[in-house]
Symmetry: C2
Subunit: 131 residues, 2 copies
Amino acid sequence: MSKREAPFAYGGLDRVMHEKARLGLLMSLMTHSKSLAKGPAKGLAFSDLKKLCGLTDGNLSRHLHVLQEAGLVEIVKTFKDARPHTQVRVTAGGRKRFLDYLGELERVVRDAAPAAKKKRKAGSKLSPATS
Amino acid sequence: MSKREAPFAYGGLDRVMHEKARLGLLMSLMTHSKSLAKGPAKGLAFSDLKKLCGLTDGNLSRHLHVLQEAGLVEIVKTFKDARPHTQVRVTAGGRKRFLDYLGELERVVRDAAPAAKKKRKAGSKLSPATS
């Protein structure tokens, strides 16, 4: 389906990455990888991701599994100070696909600009919210 | 969960509106309503939404039902030239909630800026995609 045929189909919003929790996980991994320009990212620990995304152990495990199955992240289980340690990082392919996804998200925000602008213009003249 | 506690939780990404097809539907309704500043929006016909979002009859009906149940849209069934006609428009509350959602989406795009910038800087030095 081309953009001209269905401009609001947003085919680039891959459901694996668009899901709220997984979007937060990928955002965390992409923005907290300090060595991007120099080489492969070191990634983040399971406990860091839990805090950054406000997820429970169970939810985090489940969503990481979906991301791993899709080839977007790598999960490395090791020991650190004699305790089990889980490190997660984005794959090279995952990085590319997430940046493509972000491009589509930017398009959504750009498409929405006329509506958001009208709101600012109309200001308090808009009727109060009812749902 | 506050933003400081879990900066990547993105609590404002309401699942009803964040789903790809429903996001496209709300975007269509919000950006094709020409009378926003003057009064209630006229909305769009079922057939227009089908084309704009590239959805089948079944999928469109299903997603519109979800949006209606959440109080985000109103569905008016009438007759036009002796044929059944379905018109859909955003409610006042739906408009407000969708603009709040868009604010959160803008935050995601802003949060992603460092990663997207690094990509442009690194350019062709990044390894090719593998997944």
